[in-house]
Structures are given as C-alpha cells and as structure tokens.
Symmetry: C2
Subunit: 329 residues, 2 copies
Amino acid sequence: MNIHDVAKKSGLSVVTVSRVLNNSPSVREGNRQKVLSAMEELNYSPNSAARSLVRGKTGVIGMSITNFNDSFYDRVIRVVNRKLAEQGYFLALSIAENEEEGVNFLFQKDRVDGIILLSPLEEKEYVEELKRRNIPFVLLDNQFRHEDVPSVVVDNYLGGYEATRHLIGLGHTKIAYIGGPSVFLSVAERKRGYLQALDEAGLAPFGTDSCGFTVSGGYEVAKRWAREDKLPTAFFCGDDFIALGLVQALREEGIRVPHDISVVGFDDQQFVGEFYPRLTTVRQPEAQMGSIGVELLMKLINGEVLPPAETKLAPQLLVRESTASVRLT
Amino acid sequence: MNIHDVAKKSGLSVVTVSRVLNNSPSVREGNRQKVLSAMEELNYSPNSAARSLVRGKTGVIGMSITNFNDSFYDRVIRVVNRKLAEQGYFLALSIAENEEEGVNFLFQKDRVDGIILLSPLEEKEYVEELKRRNIPFVLLDNQFRHEDVPSVVVDNYLGGYEATRHLIGLGHTKIAYIGGPSVFLSVAERKRGYLQALDEAGLAPFGTDSCGFTVSGGYEVAKRWAREDKLPTAFFCGDDFIALGLVQALREEGIRVPHDISVVGFDDQQFVGEFYPRLTTVRQPEAQMGSIGVELLMKLINGEVLPPAETKLAPQLLVRESTASVRLT
DNA sequence: ATGAAAGCGCTAACAG
DNA sequence: CTGTTAGCGCTTTCAT
C-alpha cells in the first residue's frame, strides 16, 4: 500500500500524489479530489521512514527526562508537548534510567530533529556527546554553564531571596533554611538567596540543615530540631515536600503553622497544595521555561543565530496561608 | 557521512560494511577490523530512516499515557522501559493530551513496531483505529473487554474484596466505602468486592460515597460525614489520596487513626507512604503488568499465536499502620 | 568471503 | 499543471 497504488487508483502520477500529500498549490482541484478519494479508499498513509530519508528530517523532538513524579517536570513536559505540536513537531519522551540504552538511542541525528534535555543527570557527558554528534539541542533546568548551548534556567537565587524577604517583611528575625541534597546547584543557589536577604537586613542565619526532597526528610529534620529545642520562628524550605513534612512534624509537636511558626516551600507541587494550611511557596515558571526552550530549539534547527547562551527566568512567590507575621511574645 | 564513505575509506564494498553493521559472521576478521576502524575515524553511525525503510521495522515501541504524576503509572512505565530495552527496543512515550496530534502520530505503522496503551482515555476509539491500521498493540489497565486484543488488568474486585475482608477480620462491622469518579470501571469493581465481602460476612454496607482521586476529595467527604455525625469504624478508600485526605480530616476532628477509625487505601502511592500512620493499602502488581504487557506485545510482533485476550493480575494487600482491631465500646 | 545490482517509498529537479 | 528521472542510505538477492 504505497504511493504508487494511490497513483494507479487515481489515474495520476506519483508526483501528483506527492504534491497532494504536501499541500502543493499547483494541483488542479479536480485531481486533488481524485487523489484524496483514492487515498481514502486505500486507507493510505505515507511511509514516514521514506519521508525522513529523503527529507533528512523526522519531525520528532526527543526529550530526556529523569523523573516524572513531580509537578515541576509534569508542567514543563506538558507545555513542551503543546508548543511542539503547534509547530508540527512530535514529542518523544525518554526516561534516562539506563544511561546506555535510552539516550544513546535518542542521540541519533536521524531519529530526531532536535533534543531537549530536562534536568539532565549526566549533564556534561550528554552535552559533549550531543555536540560531537552535531544534533541541535537545548538545556532546561541544567546545573552548569556551557558555551554555545542555549539553556533556560530558573533564578533560584532570586527565589530564595524573595522567599526570605517575605519572611523578613513579616517581622521574622529567626529564620532557618532547610535545603535538599547538596549535589544540586539549585539548592546552593536558594541558600545563597536566603543568606543574601538576611545579610541585607542585618540578620544572622538562625541555622541551616538539609535532607532529601521528601516529606519524611522534612519531618525528621523538624523533629530533631524540636527535640533540641532549637526552633526559629520561620523556615524557608528548598522544596515543598520538605516543607510539608516539616509542617506535619511541627503539628505533632503542638506547634501551629503559621500561628507559631511560618513555613515557605518551593516548587508549588500540585499535591502539596491540597493540604492545610496551604503552603506559601515559590512557583517556578514552567510554562515560560517550556515555551522558551521550544523556541530556542526551533531557531537552532532553522539555523538562526543563537541568542545569549543562558536565559534565566524569575520565579514567583505565591503567598498563601503558611506564613504570618511573627508573634510578638 | 554514509555507508559509502566508510566503504571507500576501508577499501571494501558497501555490502561488506553493511555486513559488519549487522554482525554477519561471513566477514573475514581482518576486513571487519578495517571497517570498524573506518567507522570509528569517520564517526559514522548508520542512518536509521534508511534502515527502517528497507527493513520495514523501526525498533521503537510507542506508549501512550495520560498522566504521569502517579506512582502506579510511574512504576509501570519504568518496568516497560527496562523490559523493552532488554529486547533491543526503545520506548517512546507520548502524552495523550491533545488527542488529535500526539496519538495519531504514534499510530503509524512505520513510526513504531508496536504500541502499548496504558489506561487509555478514549479506549474504544483507539482500539478501533489501531485495528484498522493493523498495528500490533496491547492494552494495560484498560476499562473494557475487546476481542482479539491482549490486555493486562488488575483484579480490582479482588482488591476491594481483600481490603474489606481484612477490615472484617479486625472485627469491624461498620465499614464504609469511598470511591473515585464513577466513570472508572476500577472504581465500580473495587466497590463490588467491598459489597461481596460484606455480604459473605452477613454485614450491611455502612454507606458509600465518592469524590475525585484527590486528597481534598477525601478530606471533604470525611468532614461532611463527621458533620452529619455519621461515622463508621472503618473506611475502605478506592485510592490512597482519598485515604490520606480522610485521615487528615479525621485527625482535625480529633479522631485518631487507627485507634478510633481504621482506613485502607489503594495504589500504594509512594508519596503517601511517607505519612504517619503509614497507610494500609492495596498494591497493584505494576511490575508484572509491565513485563507481561511487553511479552505479549513481542509475541504479537513476532506473529505468535495470541494467548487468551485478558490477563487478570491479583493485587496485594499491604497491611501497615492505619488499620487496627475495632475498639470494644 | 565478497561485490554488483536492484529496490524500499518518497520527494526534488527539471521538462514539457 | 503534470510527469519523467534520479536519488536519499541502506539491505538483500544473486553471482562470483
């Protein structure tokens, strides 16, 4: 069932059929209809391998992800999917679990027209490999700076800064920071923002700690601090899960949020938003990140001049119910 | 940079190069080495569009998903990814959001060698379309029965039955069921199991209700029931999120779980497992579902005889800390 | 063990 | 506006 069958059936040549396939204007309306109905009858659809071969393009954009059980990733992926579809591209997701298999597959010029790396784990290796293979690609939420590679990141420093400013503005002076695993640049950046805000306000950090990006991590830290009777009046957490665990633990200790202690999270995880008190948090601009990423990649593919390598996006503080003015005791 | 360049560089013909590419034994070792090093030098990798075209296969399996912010999906996808890689196939994920765009793309015989539909939303349409296009495919966690289509589902009836039996075994007689949206067959099946278990024990259902698969859904139901002073001694929830919301609400009402009321969830959501009391829940056999699904698809692709259309897997009750013997008052 | 030739299904270049 | 010819990069007969 190929283009020749359609040609035969419609009484026209394969070239005309191809023209109809590609919406060429130079086909007489009558003939176009003939071709269309022949296709219909034959239940024909063009072979994409053949098209890719001759055109040198696949119409597919690959995206490598490490994890999807997370609102941030979820939102970015959905936006990318939509934007790509608008441009006539198809998104193929690949889980980077088995470093060898999956990504190497995607990393083939003829498999995809371009690649989006979202929070890549083995960032440097991937970047090098992709450059070597000469495949257009962009980085989203990456950790390091790379020359000549367009990337879109969130200004985590600013996020930490604003979260802390918010707390300071509420009169808090004893503010602690609980971050995630130190391998992440974002963790360090958020902390840097926190320290800067405090410094500007002439305050000393109350204390910092870290744990995994999990509810139980936050829970344990809070329990430990409570046990040691070392509690601030406000916590800035590097992640919503941590914040949620913290709130749970504090509640068990008879400490109310935000009445006794204020808590700020990070990421605006969907799920976490269903708990009371609704968490004040920092929302990352996923939609922007996704659409700018797609735009950059499209430019790269079309050979346009590339803009400055790194685009840094401002996150947004969402003030909700877990923060309040410090209690005057 | 194609096979001809390699041939020229190695001083052999394209056919020999092709043979090396395909591990044909009939190549003299010396020549194989020549070819290999030529490939290396040229940084050559074969064009997959050309291969697909001539072979009529792509080496790609498509999987259509609707949502990934969920442990059940996450686990199934990861297993499928691994199993497929073992077989030399690559998994391409596609979000079924924009029904038109995405899936229709995957639904092309020459794009993928086979398709896995995970909890498809527009199940019947997809099945029909895929049959029409004659693409090998399997259904995972589907809602309806289809002739001639291999599918793997979980025995939700059994899950509901066992969860309820567990509660009955703990001496509970006032047991309620809170299910999810009624469009899902799984919701009805879990309820059917619940009713059956009660019936066998000579008990009447205390009451049933339903809400979205969300924490807030469960929270609101519990608040409502508490307000109406209509509380059982045990809840069986059709979903962990609902169960979690329920526990939160009960706690706010001063009711302790499991001391005053026992709660059973469903799905063993990762995240939910981090809360105390750790939820007694029903775990779906994601690993089995994934690997059986892949096996079936492989058989289909290889033209083997298809086994009985539907494989029904038994879920597993995980007894943890949210259920206890009924209090004797 | 190796190679020449044909062809997978499609599009692009060039005629007419 | 339409068709003839060539070729994308690879694998597969079929000889040798």
